[in-house]
């Protein structure tokens, strides 16, 4: 019904709903802020973890996840509210783009909207708020770039920076106790990549058992497979042939073939021919004179025996990723045809030693001294699979941040320093701007300042006092000050060695502003009728 009482005809489908104006805005604010509040408590070194429990029947019910990683939490949640979905979306993008800061981005967007809601209540038009935010964002990013520093990639300082960044990132994770150990481990792994950002070369193997401390970095490459029975368990100076080929009787690929014979003899003949075909293939492979043969597909008993007879160690049914890594690490070419033994030197991979090792209870194959020394393996140990999963996520975050840093090279001080500085820049700017936008710029500064405030709150400290003192320190000109979350005081980040990657912050601020703006611009939510599913 409209205001005068006329019954309006129904325009949308049954069950579809439309919310306009204030109602729509309220709905999106509530949703987005709820999501931000949910992940808020995981922020910072004293953040708490969440247990994620899957819904629905079946075995998966029992598999729970314990995590502190914003992206993982948000990804696993089913939300109905469209604005909340936007927040989850940006968190995912942050994960893909830089790998860390997934919680920060959702919290920042949520805080921006919380401030935005207050402005709307003061009857300021959303477009004015957005205009202000845009100014603020640019000012904040400019300040962020100004305060960042850069070291030469080969210098010792840069190496130290990396270790510090890794420590800072790890301090908010489960393994914060052993962060020095893991920071060192991750930096070593990333430096092996020599500037490339291909994380494929760093393999992470999770094995329950032992303690977290027993995790180690192996400079070789470990394949989670076993050497086929009857082959040598230790090969020195190995020549490796990596293949992706069917080692069975090799189906004929020509379309429409059928074997049709008229006597038993012929069957035997064809069987012999099949065998011969396999033997031919093995012979061809032998011409390459490898000492190790790795195949992605299954190897049948017959060729396996032939290969073993020629003293070749056979590894079958390697997974696809593992194959590519073996090939990359040992400098081998992945072969599918074997007609050019003269290219032997180009196609064979090489490594000093291949041996079967035992990690915990499992047998694995270890390749050491590979031709291309980029690959390495991080073996994670821990008392339960939940811990290992969480450590894996943490290590992944750190590796992402480190590769991003290697690419971008700019670093800023941690401990909330960059947020406070950006907030200060926004406040300075607000004084110069005429019009209502200035209120939005101030709001932006408050939202940025919320990040260190939440970190304090999560640590159980008096955030109001700490943040005020922090601000005073910055005003005094101590530009390296920041939150010391161990003692709950304001400390010098330079002394504490807390550094963060500039690119992560930059991306978080950009993505959060974009998302907040997107939600702010909405004045109408139309929900279509849900698709009916046949419960047949």
């Amino acid at each position: 019904m409209d205001i005068v009482g006329n019954v309006l005809p129904q325009v949308l489908k049954d069950e579809a709903t439309e919310d306009k104006g204030e109602m729509a805005r309220l709905q999106s604010f509530v949703g987005a802020i709820a999501v931000a509040d949910l992940v808020k408590t995981t922020l910072g070194p004293k953040g708490m973890d969440k247990i994620l429990k899957p819904t629905g029947p079946g075995q998966e019910m029992t598999h729970i996840t314990v995590t502190n990683d914003g992206a993982t939490i948000l990804k696993s949640m089913y939300v109905e509210n469209p604005a909340a979905k936007i927040l989850i979306e940006i968190s995912k993008t942050q994960d893909e783009e830089v790998g860390d800061g997934t919680t920060t981005v959702a919290v920042l967007a949520g805080e921006l909207l919380r401030e935005g809601e207050k402005l709307i209540q003061k009857r300021i038009h959303p477009q004015h708020v957005i205009a202000g935010w845009r100014i603020a964002r640019d000012v904040a990013l400019k300040r962020l770039r100004d305060i960042s520093s850069e070291n030469d990639i080969k210098s010792q300082e840069f190496h130290n920076d990396l270790v510090k960044i890794a420590r800072t990132t790890l301090s908010s994770k489960l393994i914060t106790q052993d962060r020095d150990y893991f920071a060192d481990l991750c930096v070593k792994a990333v430096l092996r990549l020599k500037g490339s950002s291909n994380l494929d070369y760093i393999q992470i193997i999770k094995l329950p058992g032992g303690t977290i401390r027993d995790s180690y970095l192996d400079d070789g490459f470990i394949l989670k497979k076993q050497i086929t029975i009857g082959c040598k368990r230790r090969i020195e100076n190995a020549k490796i042939l990596v293949a992706n080929t069917a080692m069975d009787y090799d189906k004929i690929k020509i379309y429409g073939t059928k074997v049709k014979v008229n006597s038993m003899d012929k069957v035997a003949e064809i069987e012999a021919a099949e065998k011969e075909k396999m033997k031919n293939k093995v012979d061809k492979i032998l011409k390459y004179q490898p000492t190790v043969f790795v195949n992605r597909q299954l190897i049948y008993n017959y060729p396996e025996q032939l290969l073993a007879d020629s003293n070749i160690t056979v590894i079958e049914h390697a997974d696809f990723e593992g194959m590519e890594r073996v090939a990359a690490a040992t400098g081998a070419e992945i072969l599918s045809t074997f007609d050019a033994p003269e290219r032997r030197d180009q196609v064979l991979g090489h490594c000093d030693l291949i041996e079967e090792i035992m990690i915990g209870e499992e047998k694995m194959i270890k390749f050491t001294g590979c031709k291309k020394n980029e690959a390495c393996t991080i073996v994670l140990r821990g008392s339960s699979i939940h811990i290992l999963d969480e450590v894996d996520r943490s290590i992944h975050d750190v590796l992402c941040v480190l590769t991003t840093t290697v690419k971008n090279r700019r670093v800023v001080w941690g401990g909330g320093n960059s947020e406070m500085q950006m907030a200060a820049a926004c406040e300075e700017e607000a004084k110069k701007v005429q019009g209502k936008q200035a209120l939005a710029i101030e709001a932006y500064a408050r939202a940025l300042r919320q990040i260190p405030t939440i970190i304090c709150d999560n640590g159980g400290y008096d955030s109001a006092e700490l943040i005020q003192n922090f601000n005073v320190e910055l005003q005094k000109g101590n530009l390296t000050s920041g939150l010391n979350m161990n003692d709950g005081t304001i400390g010098d980040m330079q002394e504490l060695g807390v550094k963060e990657c500039m690119r992560v912050k930059e991306q978080a601020v950009m993505a959060a502003s974009e998302a907040a703006e997107l939600i702010m611009r909405v004045d109408d939510i139309v929900k279509c009728a849900p698709r009916k599913r046949d419960r047949a």
Binding site: P9, Q10, V11, A24, E96, E97, T257
Partner: protein, 535 residues
């Protein structure tokens, strides 16, 4: 539905399942139709103009999209009401024909219907109303042409085109970067435009999206970007001076369409067949290699063995390239699409300066860029943004901007935006109304009121007082005889749209008024709706 009964009290059955049908007729039908159409127009009206708001749409599967584009909003609302659906089609035909102004056309139709409702209440016959609207529409279109100006699109580094693109982008979420994006769109269109024929084939502009980064990272690639990587992980990631072989046949043994059987009856046959099969692969690769090609793009898949043979022969290859991409690459590189291996000849190869793989972010996604194509007639706009929704909306916005630029190249006459053109037409229509002595006079006058509704709506969305600002602008237009006075949406301090440089294409404006009038006429002609009762 009302029924007629015979002497025995039995109903006359006229329609099939008469009892289950609902019927509305006469004034009731008019009003119901108009109200439904108005409901749609009302939803869109707050999206009009540079300060318009967005709509959040949740699809039946729960996917969220946020947009400001009229055509997209009405399409995703899943409207059920038959009359309201007419407005959806209206918006879509504007989108298909012009590409921009999809919100404006619906809002104008809504305003016209609003006026029609008051006229109906006065007791004027619907056909008289639609006649009046028709005559008013003609007057408005004529006036639009007299006030339009020709602009030199190439003057001052295509400044006019950039401005027009900025006007189109001004109302979108990407408005912050409208100048940069506008320039990208202009360069893209001019790269592929055929200025002699004044035509632009929009197929040559590929818009590729990738989440991550920010809208600022959006860039123009003078070449083609395809979301694929090399078929074998160890193939070279970069090919310079590429000679591209574009295949639409798989690197697999042939599969004849006729049904056939090959019977193997002896071991010799078996061996022969095996050799034959091997030969197929070798021949295929050889044919490609012999033509001088140094990269092969194929629409279909590769067999493992063929894939390795390609690697062995140092022939990088890409598989599963989509059909549209194949066509685009063919156009850009001058390659001929080769359907059979036997037909590969050196002349049929396409040439490009460089083909390389690029990687984004930490995720392992790679894309292939084909740069410096022989006939540099295809470009790609790579859109980046914080989330999928932003990227999607940016894509729609850039599409709008590209359409505007194309329209300007086709017809370089413009009118000024900010509601000034509508206001000028309204004044003209109002003058004309007084000359008409019949009932239509009222309809014509109402048409003028409806046109004024557009600047009113603009002002309303910008937080200005609509009545004051429209009255002020109108008075000034009459006083100075200047059709360029409009609403100062951006608060720049001037209401002369020429100074604000808000350009809109004449063709788009004309189309808007014509289409809106047509739909309104159609709705006014419906006096009976028969529908199943379960509405």
């Amino acid at each position: 539905m009302s029924l007629a009964f015979d002497d025995y009290g039995r109903p006359y059955i006229i329609l099939r399942d008469q009892g289950q049908k609902k019927r509305m007729k006469g004034l009731e039908a008019y009003k119901s139709n108009i109200l439904a159409a108005k409901a749609v127009a009302n939803t869109l009206s707050s999206s009009l103009g540079p300060k318009g708001m967005d709509k959040m749409l949740v699809s039946p599967d729960g996917d969220v999209s946020v947009t400001n584009d009229g055509a997209t909003i009405v399409e995703k609302m899943e409207i059920q009401h038959p009359t309201a659906k007419l407005l959806v089609e209206l918006s879509q035909s504007q989108d298909a024909e012009i590409g921009d102004g999809t919100t404006g056309v619906v809002v104008l139709a809504g305003k016209l219907l609003e006026q029609a409702l008051t006229l109906l209440d006065k007791g004027i016959h619907p056909l008289k109303i639609s006649d009046g609207f028709d005559r008013a529409c003609d007057v408005a279109i004529k006036h639009l042409e007299t006030i339009s100006e020709e602009i030199d699109i190439q003057a001052n580094d295509n400044e006019a085109l950039v401005q027009a693109a900025c006007t189109a982008l001004g109302s979108k979420v990407v408005s912050k970067r409208k100048r940069e994006l506008g320039k990208i769109a202009v360069t893209a269109v001019l790269d592929v435009a055929d200025l002699a024929r004044r035509d632009v084939n929009l197929d040559l502009i590929k818009i590729q999206t990738k989440t991550g980064g920010s809208v600022e990272d959006t860039r123009l690639i003078s070449g083609i970007l395809i979301d694929k990587d090399m078929s074998h992980p160890q193939m070279p990631k970069e090919v310079k001076d590429a000679k591209i072989c574009l295949l639409t046949c798989p690197f697999e043994p042939p599969k004849p369409k006729t049904k056939h059987n090959i019977n193997i009856s002896s071991a010799d046959d078996y061996k022969k067949l095996y050799l034959q099969e091997q030969q197929y692969f070798v021949d295929m690769v050889k044919l490609v290699k012999n033509s001088g090609a140094n990269i092969a793009l194929c629409q279909w898949g590769f067999d493992d063995e063929a894939n390795h043979l390609l690697l062995q022969n140092e022939l990088p290859a890409v598989r599963w390239v989509s059909g549209t991409d194949v066509e685009l690459i063919a156009m850009a590189t001058g390659a001929r699409i080769i359907p059979r291996f036997q037909e590969i000849t050196p002349e049929k190869l396409g040439k490009a300066g460089c083909v390389k793989e690029v990687q984004f972010g930490t995720s392992n996604e790679r894309m292939l860029v084909i740069e410096n194509c022989q006939c540099t007639k295809a470009v790609t706009i790579l859109i980046r943004g914080g989330s999928q929704m932003i990227v999607d909306e940016a894509k729609r916005s850039i599409h709008d901007a590209i359409c505007v630029i194309r329209n300007l190249i086709k017809d370089n006459r413009i009118v000024y935006g900010g509601g000034s053109a509508e206001l000028a037409c309204a004044i003209q229509v109002l003058q004309y109304a007084d000359e008409v002595s019949s009932v239509e006079q009222y309809a014509i006058r109402s048409f003028a009121d409806a046109l004024e509704g557009i600047p009113c709506c603009l002002a309303d969305n910008c937080g200005l007082n609509p009545i004051t600002s429209v009255a002020q602008a109108k008075a000034l237009q009459l006083k100075e005889n200047n059709p360029r006075i409009g609403i100062d949406c951006m608060e720049l301090g001037t209401i002369d749209m020429k100074e604000q440089r808000i350009y809109e294409t004449l063709s788009s404006k004309k189309q808007q008024i014509q289409l809106a009038t047509q739909v309104v006429k159609m709705i006014l002609k419906i006096d009976d709706v028969i529908a199943p009762d379960d509405y």
